[in-house]
Symmetry: C2
Subunit: 327 residues, 2 copies
């Protein structure tokens, strides 16, 4: 069984949110009664459409792909000179982007989402911030929430990861996507709350999109994801309502955490980053109440919380009250 | 709108089965009344399990991935020294395999499935059969049905594409997958009839799987595909029943076509390859009856038909009768 064990280590992702199954195994309970705040995924997902048998059974056809791309172009106001590639998750695109050009020096301002660095390293890139060949800007940044400006987009290749930008569309840098060497990434799973469906997008010049497509193969996106994505990206009112709800709920979350002494460092309305005296201890105490949060290997004080669904906020409130009583 | 047009051409797959939407546009009717025999997809799919909200909403967790890999290892009798990577379709793996080693000479015996050559070409490989660095064996071959032998697996890198091998598991060369430089591909969409779900596997040494995984990124497979795949790969009796039904149905299809003068060239029980005097004319005549078949740019006489579902065989029989009457 040596091979089986090796495989598991191969497939384990780097330090990430998620991993709720490991938390359940350690602290008990059932997955359903755990409140998973370890990710930045909207807890009130876009409602699934009715799927047809053909969505599941047939190779996804060109008409369904075209409908998704048209909806994406309109929703994100993609410039006419830019093309769009749909993929089974932004992660799949992140893994392939470093193969677009010969390995060089990449600047990835830290701290940030760690799959970018892993992908560039796997393709032989080195890291540095002096005249880099490539730069990765997670915009807004995860976990700090930092926004970047157009003047930061100044290396030959710049990846602008807008996975969390659908809560603040006015900040988007998508208008730069028709310029050579700029790739804007969009994630469907986070804002629309359907991370298990696997859908993400790259927006760049047609030449860059053609190269990424060659690395991806045909029929990259599932039939159900094509249908859901096209419906969701045409539903501007759902998006507007969701932005308003997330904004209100993140204010409520901040108030609860501030009352317990946590200081808001940043974030977006999909996740909040707090500074606490001992983040590992906070994580453990909340885990005892079956609430799973995110800490980071590079900080002893950063604690990141995704938003609870409105009907689960009470579970967090109760846990925080009990923590205080026991302190 | 120039960019939009360019994008569509980028995303159009090479000459393939499928494309039923284009056929409907040309010959009329509705998609539901068309009988699509242009692919090799089992028309009686594995029944979908009940999905949980977490399957759609959450990042796929390690336990779900492990369950799928365990089921795959058992179903295909994967050797202990080999590891397994799940991907959103065999196509995604085919696109990435040529990046595993420096571009050299690849031997891809023709005719065969054309995505392999496209993927190697995109990575700068040249084609030749004299002491090649890599070889691709589609096993059984598509469209001829040719089976390869272990002694054909004799280049430094050999891709054994067993996308259609689940109808003839005794022919599988998966026992070679623990040897360096051998990659066995499996497709979930074809035998289990769920091509829109996007699920496929690579089986190779742990070292090769680790490299392919780095090119794929985490959470490659959707939550619904993880659940369905794990259930289906544990359901050995469904697989046995399906093999028996496909065998019976392909005999019936051969009999119908032989009665019309078509000669069986080869195939598998998921698709049949026939030799007819004028394949393009046959395709058009069947399309007039809203039956879509497959012809090939390299042959004027090859006509490939997937299997009709048992309750749709009559539609083909009627069309063939009418064609005869009108001839």
């Amino acid at each position: 069984m040596q091979a089986g064990r090796e495989l598991v280590s191969v497939m384990l992702p780097r330090d990430h949110g998620g991993g709720i199954d490991a938390a359940v195994a350690r602290w008990g309970g059932t997955r359903d009664n755990w409140l998973d705040l370890s990710t930045g995924i909207n807890p009130v997902p876009y409602p699934l459409p009715e799927f047809t048998a053909a969505d599941w059974n047939d190779l996804p056809d060109q008409a369904a792909q075209d409908a998704l791309i048209r909806a994406a172009r309109d929703f994100w106001q993609v410039p006419e000179g830019a093309a769009i590639l749909a993929a089974p998750g932004a992660s799949a695109l992140i893994a392939r982007i470093p193969a677009l050009m010969p390995a060089g020096i990449v600047d990835i301002p830290a701290p940030t989402y760690n799959e970018h660095a892993a992908a560039f390293a796997a393709q032989g890139w080195a890291f540095g911030n002096s005249a880099p060949d490539a730069r990765v800007l997670v915009h807004p940044n995860n976990p700090t929430g930092k926004r970047w400006q157009a003047e930061d987009v100044d290396a030959p290749l710049v990846v602008i990861d807008e996975s969390f930008c659908d809560v603040c569309p006015d900040d988007s840098l998508v208008h730069l996507a028709d310029q050579p060497g700029r790739i804007v990434l969009k994630s469907f799973g986070k804002f629309w709350g359907l991370a298990g469906m696997r859908l993400g997008f790259a927006i760049a010049t047609p030449d860059t999109i053609a190269k990424l497509n060659a690395l991806s193969g045909p029929w990259a996106v599932s039939g159900p994801a094509l249908r859901t994505g096209a419906a969701a990206l045409q539903d501007h009112s759902w998006a507007a309502d969701t932005r308003a709800r997330l904004s209100k709920d993140s204010d409520r979350l901040d108030a609860l955490m501030a009352a317990k002494g946590a200081r808001v460092v940043g974030g977006t309305t999909l996740f909040r980053l707090y500074d606490v005296p001992d983040a590992a201890k906070w994580q453990e105490q909340l885990a005892e109440h079956h609430i799973w949060t995110r800490v980071f290997p590079y900080s002893e004080t950063f604690l990141r919380l995704g938003l609870p669904a409105p009907d689960r906020l009470g579970q967090l409130e109760n846990a925080l009250t009990t923590m205080e009583a026991g302190a």
